[in-house]
């Protein structure tokens, strides 16, 4: 059970990050690359900065968030000021981040004595488990706090309201005086903060060194999670648990039996197709609603 929770933590971050951009009807998939890249960048701090326990981790998390925010803002500017498709530029950016991150890894971080991976993170940088017997870590608390913050942000602040308006109908929002450029930038930056944070937290909590050689794949999961949760931060927690459940299940099967983990990816694609299909079960929907009206 603990495995599901610890697997869900990065998914919550990713899901939140995606839900923020989805609320604005933006399809930025950059969370993928940012997870990877912020982990790479904070590795420098984690390995070599001589900071005391507590301050070390905080610095790392803040740094990760900033990295994410900066990168996302680049994509945001491309979209907001130039109208460039955020889908294409974010995917291109993911590849770029993979390349630059790998370069940083081979050039600076690589530990010649380890079979794979960077120099080990300093002890003061790591998160340890808070529930004995599992690997559940402080990141869970952080994730839950961020969830609450995102909820308040999206549903209770003016900026959040503007994001939602732009998401529902961009022209109408513009007409009502909402500064769409600002909204695009804000949603991108917030999303970047969250995914950057997620990458940092995941690294120091679950890994002792930087060892990702490919993009870890959280971005796509996050998209699905956001969709399942209908972009509601609270729903994100449950969908993350569900996706974590699927992933750990597939992991077990892959290790002990003969079905590859990609099964989950296939399932996820199917679910995305189904739940984004507005006309799926359309005829039932009509009857359901009409029955409801008849009962009033």
């Amino acid at each position: 059970m603990g495995n599901i929770i610890e697997a869900a933590i990065p998914l919550i971050f990713s899901g939140l990050a995606m839900s923020v951009v989805f609320q604005a009807s933006l399809f930025n998939m950059g969370a993928e690359g940012i997870f990877f890249f912020s982990a790479a960048v904070i590795s420098f701090i984690a390995i070599w900065a001589p900071l005391p326990h507590g301050i070390h981790q905080t610095t790392i998390i803040v740094a990760g968030a900033l990295v994410g925010a900066i990168i996302m803002s680049i994509i945001g500017i491309l979209k907001a000021k130039f109208g460039a498709s955020e889908l294409v530029s974010s995917l291109m950016m993911n590849n770029v981040l993979l390349g630059v991150g790998s370069y940083l890894m081979t050039k600076y971080l690589r530990d010649p004595m380890a079979s794979q991976g960077s120099y080990p993170y300093a002890k003061t940088a790591l998160f340890s488990s808070i529930v004995p017997g599992t690997r559940i870590h402080l990141g869970l608390i952080i994730a839950l706090i961020v969830t609450g913050l995102v909820y308040v942000f999206i549903y209770r602040t003016k900026w959040g309201y503007e994001i939602r308006m732009v998401g529902q109908n961009k022209s109408f929002a513009e007409y009502s005086g909402i500064n769409v450029v600002k909204v695009i930038m804000i949603s991108h930056i917030v999303s970047g903060l969250i995914s950057g944070m997620g990458g940092a937290v995941e690294s120091i909590a679950m890994h002792k060194r930087f060892e990702w050689s490919m993009l870890p794949g959280f971005g796509f999961d996050g998209a699905l999670i956001a969709m399942l949760a209908n972009n509601n931060p609270l729903g994100v927690i449950f969908s993350s648990l569900f996706v974590a459940y699927l992933r750990t299940g597939a992991d077990i099967v892959a290790r002990l039996s003969d079905v590859p983990t990609e099964l989950v990816t296939i399932l996820q694609s199917l679910v995305i197709l189904l739940i984004s299909a507005e006309r799926f079960l359309h005829s039932y929907k009509q009857r359901w609603i009409e029955r409801g009206i008849g009962n009033e």
Binding site: G249, I252, L256, S257, L270, V271, L281, Y284, I289
Partner: protein, 55 residues
């Protein structure tokens, strides 16, 4: 509006159930020992398997 929201949630559930069914089917077709694979996939975490290194 509330009826519509309920319906959307239900539709999400249906999609998830379909996914689970498809998982069933795929595992059936693919695995040499489908019963074991299915057990592992769906309730594997509850069993205390010592396959993760806690270093």
């Amino acid at each position: 509006m509330n009826r519509e929201k309920t319906f959307n949630i239900m539709r999400t559930f249906v999609s998830m159930i379909i996914a689970v069914i498809v998982a069933f089917i795929i595992i059936m077709i693919v695995s040499d020992d489908p019963i074991k694979s299915i057990r592992l996939f769906f309730i594997g975490h509850l069993l205390n398997l010592d396959i993760w290194e806690i270093s």
